[in-house]
Symmetry: C2
Subunit: 169 residues, 2 copies
């Protein structure tokens, strides 16, 4: 039985998801893409996964470099998310914001909701995509305003209750 | 370098995610759990993944049965999500709502935002969890009200712009 890809896409438009920038680095050049396919896998040891389309430039770079950083975006980062979703000069995407590095050379977005710097421990090829499973080597929680950028039904949105939280450290 | 599991959990609380019920079936008994770790993998052929803790009852059942159904929840399903998040008689969780089956024997929630009925094509064990990769065999979009139940920072929430959409069929 073959199921219609359009029906699948219509269904998946109903899965609300936080928007992240997945970044990596190779030969002096930064790469990045906007993504909603990010999942927590294991807390101990800290591990997450990202699903990346093989046609994305970042796909091959992550495969070769063996590391990536997941940066969770805030609602106010919607323009940044759009910039990372459209083809353009790779480096210009990174201009106008402060970036740093944590453990790997992957760019970490200063002021994002959180940055998870990861080393790839396993890659699983599934049809058009690769599931990169990353061991988290460093985490930065830049501040405690967590009003997230969320994607649903082809649009950016945010939560009713997004708010300043108290640090639970 | 060992990274603190608590810091990872605090970071992951900032990843907004739609809430789903993952269901399965074995020996005349329905099983299910609430989950936020669901990702689209590939649209053609339609494929998704779920990350399931090995300690969850549903984990072993999905492994043996080889199928599961992902049901995306609406904001008004918050009590149902709580019921599926707390230990209780497995079958009583399913009472009070209408369930059906699509292609596999996994329960599909009538009236959810969408149900994706899947056969497991690959299982990847990663520390405390297993990533089940499922080929989607059937999809049901029950209606066009997509006001999703979203989890952030330990609480249920919904989107500012959740709304009735026009069917794009």
């Amino acid at each position: 039985m073959t199921l219609d890809a359009d029906l699948f896409k219509r269904g998946m438009r109903r899965l609300a998801a936080g928007v992240s920038l997945i970044t990596t680095y190779e030969h002096g050049e930064r790469h990045g893409m906007a993504a909603t396919s990010v999942c927590s896998v294991s807390a101990d040891p800290p591990t997450l996964l990202v699903c990346v389309n093989r046609t994305a430039t970042s796909h091959a770079v992550i495969g070769r470099a063996g590391f990536f950083c997941v940066n969770l975006l805030a609602e106010k980062d919607d323009e940044l998310a759009r910039r990372f979703s459209t083809p353009a000069d790779r480096e210009s995407r990174f201009s106008g914001r402060e970036w740093t590095t944590l453990v790997t050379e992957a760019p970490a977005l200063v002021g994002s909701l959180a940055s998870f710097d990861c080393e790839v421990i396993e890659s699983v090829d599934v049809d058009s995509h690769t599931v990169f499973i990353g061991r988290v080597k460093a985490i930065e929680l830049w501040h405690n305003d967590i009003v997230p950028l969320v994607y649903l039904d082809g649009r950016f949105d945010t939560l009713v209750g997004g708010r300043q939280i108290k640090d639970r450290a």
